[in-house]
Every structure is written in structure tokens, then in C-alpha cells.
């Protein structure tokens, strides 16, 4: 078994230090937590060490240096696979099948380094460091976080350690362990503001939804263990082992991989387990940037990419094509669905959350296509019958370009989306700050009644309905008091609000005087009466710093942030030559390539093509609503540039997204398990650029050539064009922006001035309502939970009370009855005892007599 204590293949010194990449952040976790407790409130700790932020930065920096060393070592000197496992965790003896011999299985931790590892390793460690820098500027300047930032940084470094560990691990077992560690940290960080019910709810939702996927992943891993007798990559990816398994039980292997894919669906927030990601935006913005855009959601993609050797092995030829289709179809569905929902979001971070889902779905579609190609093409040097493969060169290239496109999109998306989230964080931070500055005297919300109650009071007033009539009409079961669900139904029916459960809880709590969780007539009457009398005095100021409705015209006020956001958006849209362009076009082209082979793939292929235009629309909409036009409201007019800690990562990542062209020219689109096609392959830089321009779109047929231009047209012209005609506009008079915004803003003003059209009919349509309700997925999931799970739980509780507790209670009651009866015999009177003794003696004598005689 691998992991049994010896170094197997060690080629580089950097690999020897690889365990420290994940151990350093893991070490920082207790240090920050302990120091944070011990020095809480200390001035030096707060101002100089940034409540642990700088300690985390130091450890993450060291971790990044080691990662970079490893990456450079890998690219420069060696491009194959390395394995280093020199630590045995535990050894267990097992009974082997058949004969009763004891076989020993040892579980060790080792490092596995190949092209996928290296790419993810760079993304994770690089973004962790940048987001850590950002977090210092974001978290430590908000008074609400005072004296608890150490908790944030401790959980942050623990998360980084989990991500790096998952990437470096050399077995599916360790992958799963670190996967769960990330899940835990995600839960803790989403719930960082746990005093807010919505944050606590979102944390639970994220944890439980991903857990649904994880159960399947665990079952998949168990099946894989059953097939291979190990979960080490060295064993399961071994060519002979795959051959043996493919020969006996290829179908079972497909099931194992399919179940593992469900785990990836949960972690990467794909349909139908996508509901947690938008809610996860309750966490602080650095968390959204790190976990829910750049790293953790990529874990699912990493897992699917890891399965490549199964798909690519010739022994499995054609066996896994259906699974590849499922992967691509789930991706295509999510890509379009999430993009459509992003159309109607007003919350800046929610747009980005749906964009993340949509882009991850692109990568899934790309992986699905690549895995399909790897599984159905003969792309190895020799055919299964041993003869030389004539199509080797062409097919090999196709598979590697398809796989490389998906992986490169992962890279581009992580960089761009990490930056976009940080930029959105900077905007929110500054808008919030400006609001606080303008309205600091109104910030005490302590007397506020819930808005819905105010609306309800107005509604009753307008309709001349008394509280008593209203109460009778909503008390459906006539029980004399109403519960949360009846109340929710009534609020929906009177078109006041359709509130999620956590807000209903808060609302009920505001009215419920006796605290029994139900509302009766006096309570409701009292609350509404108080509000009616308050309506004359109080006025409510609900300011949402995340809503794009409160922004606009920020391009002149936050130039660096606006630039970063623009470049990130262009990268996500696939604007020619910028980052995402190279990979996104590759994914679209390769999905269509498969569609020409297998008509089923027309579905994902159409989805990704359509999604390109939708991406162009919603990303442009977001940028224009935030940065172009006139400021909506006085808050947006008083925003200031952000601080240096936040600017540094934005600046760095802007260049990374712009530099997509350099990376593509270096051959990163071929970032695939093959040294021949690897980096800088015999073209040089300029040659590489021209080669990529020619080949990245899989241009072997004219069809793909035309397709590419269609994709560019709808992604970079139609989608953004629609947004330009609807949103934004020129900046106000006297506002000056950086010169590179001039063409964008001028184009915006020109298109909007000339082609502006009224979209209010569309915005008011039923479909738009459905979209802003997230297509009712949460609603139906909640209902399914209430109707099925809650009903089942009630039955289970009944069974527990009647059967299990019932048995125990019957035994107890019977023995008590018997003892009561027996106790009556002890009268306490000595004469009775004598009588009993006499009768007993007589009986004994009689007995002995009988026996003897």
C-alpha cells in the first residue's frame, strides 16, 4: 500500500518542503486564536498586529513562497507526476475475503503533485494571501468587528490550510478530510455575524446543503474503496488496476464516479444543490471572495478534474460517456439558470454570487466535454489491440486542449472573481462608510418596528378592516391563535411581503408578548395599535449598502476599484484578449465539437452559447449600475477612494486578468497531463500567441471558426449592448474619470441616448418575478422539508414515544404494579409474620414428609 512510510518518487527539493505549505497555516490557527484571546483589546495587538491579520499574512506569505518554489520547479524542470508520502497515519489489520488471512492496510499522508495540483495550488495560495491583505483593510476598519477579528483570521487560516491540504493530498481519503475541514470553516465564516439571524440561517443552510452532496461523495468513495482496496491516487490511478476494474466492474466504477460527482455538485453550488451560495453572501466580503468565489467552490471542479485518469484510460473506452454527458448537462443547466437569476438581482454581491454559479457551470460543461472526448476518442499512442494509433496526434491534441480550456477557465475565473468580490467589498465598504458619515445621528435602530408590521397596519387602515376581522380571516384552523405559517400566508395573501422563515421568526418575536411562539388577538391588536400611533412620529431609514440602487457614478470616485471591476467583468464576459476569453471560447468550441459527435450535447452546447450573451448582459449591467451614470441618492455622491490595504490586491489581480494573453501565449490553455503539449511548446512567446489565436477555438473546421465569432458577437456585443442601452449613462457634470473609462462611458451615453427602450413591461412580467424569487427553488425546498421531512420527523417522534419509550414504560409500570401488590403482604403486624412462618414451616414439613415418604 502506498503511504507506508517510504518516499516513492522524489525529484525536487521543493517537493520535500511541500507539507509545510499546508502545515504553516494550520500552525497559525492556534497561535492567532490564543493570542487573540490573551491580548484582546490590547492596543499593540489591535493597531500594530491588526488583531492577528499580520500574523496570518506572514504565515500565508511563507506558504505562498513555498508554493511558488514548487510551481516553478514543476514548470521548469519536471512536468510529470510526483508523489511523496513519508508519514504513516495509522495501520489497521483487516480480514481479507475468502481465506481468513489478516491483511494490513496503512493510511498515510502524502503529497501528490501533478499539473492539476500545481494550478490549484497557485490559485489557492496566491489568492489566500491577497484576500488576507484585503481583509486587513476591510475587517479592521469596521467598528462592528472590533475585538473579534482574531476569530476571523484564525478561521481564515484554518480554511486556507484545508484548501491547500485538499489540493496537495495524495488520496481521496485525505481529499475528503480536507474537503470537510473547508466545509466547517465555510460554516463558521458565513456565520461570523452569528448575532444576525439571517447569517446564522445562511451558515446552517450552506453546511446542510453541501452535506447532502457529501453523503453521496462518501458513498462513492466507499464504492471506490471496494473496487480498488485503497483510495490512494497511486493505487486507483494505476493503469493495471484500472484495467482490472474496467474488466470486471466498469458499471460499478461509473456509479462510484457519479456519486462522487454529486458531492462536487453540492460543493460547487450547481443545480439542484445551488441554493446555499447566494445566502452565503451573508458572510463578510473577504469570505465571499475567498471561499465562495476563488477557492472552496473550485473544490468540486478539482474533484471532477481528478477523475480524468478514469475517463482517459483506454480500458474504460466509452463506458463513462453517459456520466460525462450528465456532468456537461448539469453545467449547462446551471449556467443559464444562474445567469438568468443574475439579471434581476439588485444586491451587488448577489449578482456576483450568481455569476460565480454560472461560471463554475461553464467549467463543469467544459470538463464534461473534455471527459467525454477523453473517454470516446482513441487518443493514446497505441490502440487497444496493440497497433500504432494513426490518429494519435490529432486526438491527443483535441483531448488536451479541451481539458486545458476547462482548467484554464478555472484559473481565469478564480482570479477575476476573487478580484470582483474584493472590488465589490471596497464599494460596499465605502458606501457604508459614506452613509454612516452622512447619517450617523440616525443610526440607532433600537425603537424600530418591523417594516412588515407597519405595512400591515397601513393595509388594514386602507381597507377599513379591524384587527379582529383580519385575525378571524387568517386563523384558518379557528384555534384562537395563529402560528408563524398562518401569519406568513396572510402576509403573502395581502401582498405585503413573502418572508423567509428566519425573518418570520423575528417578526413573530416582535409581536409575541407572552413568548409562546404563537400570536393571539390581544398581542396583534396591541402591536398594531402601537404602530398606528407611532406612524405619525417615526420614519424609517432602511439603507442597504449592498444595493446597486444606492450607487451609480462611482467611476470618478473610486478609480482603482472601478478599473478592477471593469477588467474583472470583461474577463468573465470573455472580452477578446482579456483573461477569460481564451478559456471561455475554448469551452464553447469544445462543447460544440462534442455536440457534433453526440447529439445529446446540443443541450449543454446551446446553454453555454446562450449563457455567453447572458454573462455579457449581467456583468455589464452590474458595472454600469454601480459606476456609470449619476449617483442615485446623496450617499453615492459622497463616496471616497478606499484604503491601501484594499487597493494592493485589486491592483495585482487587475494585471493578472489583463495578463491572460501572456499566460495563454505561454501555453496555459494546454495545461494538461502531457509534457509534449506543455508550456512554451516550441513556439516562443510571439509564436505562441499566434498559435493560440489560431488554435484555441478548435478551428479545424470552418464551423468552429464561425461559431467562435458568433460567441464573441453575442458575448461581447449583444449582451453588453443591451445593458448599455438600459443602464448607466454619462457621469455628472464636473466629474472626471480616468482616461480609460472615457470610451466606455462615451459608448454608454451614446447607446443609451439613441437606443434606450422601456423594459418595465419585461421587468414586471411573471418571469422576472419568478427570477427575483430565485425560480422558487428555496420555496419548494422549504415546502418539501416541511411536508416530507417534518412529517416524517413527527411520525418518527410518535414511534419513539409509543414503541421505544412505550416498551420501557410498560416494563416499568408492570413491575411497579407487582411490587405494590407484594408490599400489601407486609402488614407490619408481628402476628401475621408468625402466621406466615408457621404456615411456611408446615408446608416445608409437609414437603419433606412427602418426599421422604
Amino acid at each position: 500500500m502506498a503511504g507506508s512510510g517510504s518516499s516513492e518518487i522524489v525529484h525536487s527539493t521543493a517537493a520535500q518542503y511541500a507539507p509545510w505549505i499546508l502545515l504553516l497555516p494550520m500552525l497559525a490557527f492556534p497561535i492567532i486564536l490564543y493570542l487573540g484571546k490573551a491580548m484582546n483589546g490590547n492596543k499593540m495587538w489591535k493597531d500594530t498586529l491588526k488583531e492577528g491579520g499580520l500574523i496570518a499574512l506572514g504565515f500565508m506569505g511563507a506558504s505562498l513562497v513555498l508554493s511558488l518554489w514548487l510551481v516553478i520547479d514543476f514548470i521548469g524542470a519536471y512536468g510529470g507526476t510526483e508523489m511523496l508520502s513519508d508519514w504513516t497515519w495509522f495501520t489497521s489489520s483487516m480480514w481479507a475475503d475468502g481465506d481468513n488471512a489478516v491483511s494490513t492496510v496503512s493510511f498515510g499522508f502524502g503529497i501528490h503533485i501533478d499539473h492539476i495540483t500545481v494550478m490549484l495550488l497557485f490559485i489557492a495560495s496566491f489568492l489566500c494571501l491577497l484576500i488576507n491583505t484585503f481583509a486587513i483593510g476591510y475587517m479592521n476598519t469596521d467598528p462592528i468587528n472590533d475585538n473579534r477579528n482574531h476569530r476571523f483570521y484564525a478561521e481564515f487560516v484554518l480554511f486556507c490550510s484545508g484548501m491547500l491540504g485538499m489540493v496537495l493530498a495524495d488520496s481521496f481519503l485525505w481529499l475528503f478530510i480536507f474537503w470537510e475541514l473547508m466545509g466547517l470553516c465555510s460554516y463558521l465564516l458565513i456565520g461570523f455575524y452569528y448575532e444576525r439571524p439571517s447569517a446564522a440561517y445562511a451558515a446552517k443552510k450552506a453546511f446542510l446543503t453541501t452535506r447532502v452532496g457529501d453523503v453521496f461523495l462518501m458513498v462513492g468513495l466507499a464504492i471506490l474503496w471496494d473496487l480498488f482496496g485503497s483510495l490512494d491516487y497511486a493505487v486507483v490511478f494505476d493503469s493495471h488496476n484500472i484495467e482490472a476494474v474496467a474488466h470486471d466492474s466498469a458499471g460499478t466504477l461509473a456509479w462510484a464516479l457519479g456519486l462522487m460527482f454529486i458531492g462536487a455538485v453540492g460543493k460547487s453550488a450547481q443545480f439542484p444543490l445551488h441554493v446555499w451560495l447566494p445566502d452565503a453572501m451573508e458572510g463578510p466580503t473577504p469570505v465571499s471572495a475567498l471561499i465562495h468565489a476563488a477557492t472552496m467552490v473550485n473544490a468540486g471542479l478539482y474533484l471532477v478534474a481528478r477523475m480524468f485518469p478514469f475517463f482517459g484510460h483506454e480500458a474504460m473506452h466509452g463506458e463513462l460517456a453517459d456520466l460525462a454527458f450528465i456532468i456537461a448537462a448539469i453545467g449547462g443547466t446551471t449556467a443559464v439558470m444562474a445567469a438568468a437569476i443574475a439579471f434581476v438581482q439588485h444586491d451587488l454581491k448577489k449578482v456576483l454570487a450568481y455569476s460565480t454559479m454560472s461560471q463554475l457551470a461553464y467549467i463543469f460543461t467544459g470538463l464534461g466535454s473534455a471527459l467525454y472526448l477523453a473517454n470516446t476518442l482513441y487518443w493514446h499512442k497505441y490502440l487497444p489491440d496493440g497497433t500504432t494509433n494513426a490518429d494519435y496526434y490529432v486526438n491527443h491534441g483535441i483531448v488536451i486542449v479541451a481539458f486545458g480550456a476547462a482548467l484554464f477557465h478555472l484559473f481565469n475565473h478564480a482570479m477575476a472573481k476573487g478580484m470582483l468580490f474584493m472590488a465589490s467589498g471596497a464599494v460596499i465598504h465605502e458606501v457604508h462608510h459614506a452613509h454612516h458619515h452622512l447619517h450617523h445621528h440616525e443610526d440607532d435602530h433600537d425603537h424600530g418596528d418591523p417594516e412588515e408590521l407597519v405595512m400591515l397596519a397601513k393595509y388594514l387602515n386602507d381597507n377599513d378592516q379591524t384587527v379582529y376581522e383580519f385575525f378571524k380571516s387568517i386563523d384558518l384552523d379557528g384555534s384562537g391563535d395563529i402560528d408563524m405559517f398562518e401569519f406568513q400566508k396572510a402576509l403573502t395573501a395581502s401582498q405585503i411581503a413573502n418572508l423567509p422563515p428566519w425573518e418570520m421568526t423575528a417578526l413573530v418575536k416582535a409581536v409575541d408578548l407572552n413568548g409562546d411562539g404563537r400570536l393571539n388577538l390581544p398581542e396583534l391588536d396591541l402591536a398594531l395599535g402601537r404602530i398606528v400611533s407611532d406612524l405619525d412620529h417615526g420614519h424609517h431609514d432602511e439603507f442597504d449598502a449592498q444595493s446597486m440602487e444606492n450607487m451609480g457614478g462611482l467611476a470618478s470616485k473610486m478609480p482603482i476599484t472601478a478599473t478592477a471591476m471593469l477588467v474583472g467583468s470583461l474577463s468573465i464576459m470573455g472580452f477578446p484578449l482579456i483573461g477569460g476569453f481564451w478559456s471561455k471560447e475554448g469551452i464553447i468550441a469544445n462543447t460544440w465539437r462534442v455536440a457534433l459527435e453526440d447529439p445529446r450535447f446540443f443541450y449543454p452546447a446551446l446553454c453555454v452559447l446562450l449563457g455567453a450573451g447572458m454573462t455579457g448582459f449581467y456583468m455589464s449591467r452590474m458595472w454600469l449600475k454601480t459606476f456609470a451614470g449619476s449617483p442615485k441618492g446623496e450617499v453615492a455622491a459622497h463616496v471616497h477612494p478606499t484604503n491601501t490595504w484594499i487597493k494592493i490586491p485589486l491592483f495585482t489581480l487587475t494585471f493578472f486578468s489583463l495578463g491572460g494573453v501572456i499566460l495563454a501565449s505561454m501555453g496555459f490553455t494546454h495545461w494538461a497531463p502531457d509534457i509534449e503539449y506543455a508550456l512554451m511548446s516550441d513556439h516562443g512567446f510571439i509564436g505562441g500567441f499566434l498559435y493560440e489565436m489560431e488554435h484555441v477555438f478548435a478551428n479545424s473546421k470552418p464551423f468552429f471558426f464561425i461559431l467562435t465569432y458568433i460567441a464573441i458577437f453575442i458575448g461581447a456585443i449583444v449582451g453588453p449592448g443591451l445593458a448599455l442601452s438600459l443602464y448607466g449613462g454619462a457621469l455628472d457634470e464636473g466629474e472626471t474619470a480616468k482616461p480609460w473609462f472615457t470610451p466606455v462611458l462615451a459608448l454608454n451615453a451614446a447607446v443609451k441616448g439613441r437606443y434606450h427602450w422601456d423594459n418595465s413591461a419585461l421587468a414586471g412580467s411573471g418571469f422576472a418575478t419568478a427570477l427575483s424569487n430565485r425560480l422558487y427553488f428555496d420555496h419548494y425546498y422549504d415546502m418539501a422539508m416541511l411536508k416530507i421531512v417534518a412529517a416524517f420527523s413527527n411520525k418518527a417522534a410518535q414511534a419513539d414515544a409509543s414503541v421505544i419509550d412505550g416498551t420501557v414504560k410498560t416494563i416499568e409500570r408492570t413491575s411497579q404494579d407487582i411490587s405494590t401488590k407484594l408490599r400489601a403482604l407486609t402488614t407490619g403486624s408481628a402476628r401475621d409474620y408468625i402466621l406466615m412462618a408457621a404456615v411456611g414451616t408446615l408446608a416445608l414439613v409437609g414437603l419433606i414428609w412427602g418426599v421422604v415418604a
Binding site: 407486609t826 402488614t827 407490619g828 403486624s829 408481628a830 402476628r831 408468625i834 402466621l835
Partner: protein, 100 residues
Amino acid sequence: MIDPAWVSGLSALLFVIGLAGAFTRKNAIIVLMCIELMLNAANMQFAAAAVHHGDTTGWVYTIFAIAIAASEVAIGLAIFLAMYGQHESITLDDVNVLKN
């Protein structure tokens, strides 16, 4: 010589009278007397058996039993005095602290 069967019969009769008295009477002193009666029934049986077999062991037992009975009466009367101190009565029906 009297037939030993008669003596045994008398002894059994005395014993049953004592037993019945011990069951039925409420006064503790009478119950004690009945217990003495049962002891003496046993003594009589011992004595009769000793004469019949010409063996002195029976006499020895009888003497021991009488000595024990004497000390028992002393203890019994002491108990009754203590009982009277607590319950203001020596009626056995009033003494049922062991009930249930």
C-alpha cells in the same frame, strides 16, 4: 409407665394452643406467655424422650431451653416497657412500623 405417645400428644396440644394464642391475641404479654407455652411443650417432649431412651442429653437440652426462656422473658418484658414508653400501649395492633 405412661405411653410416650400420650406425652407427645399432650406436648403437641400445648404447642398448638401456644401457637394459636400467639396468632390471635393482641396483648403483648399474653403473646409472650403463649410463646413460653410453646417452649415448654418442646421441653416436655425433650424430657419424655430422655426418659424413654434413658439418655441424659434430653435433660441437658431442657435445662438450656429453660435458661434461655428465662433470659428471653427478661428481654421481652424490657422490650414491652420500651414499647410502652413510645406507644403508650402494648397492644400489638398499634405497633406496625414495618408495614409496607
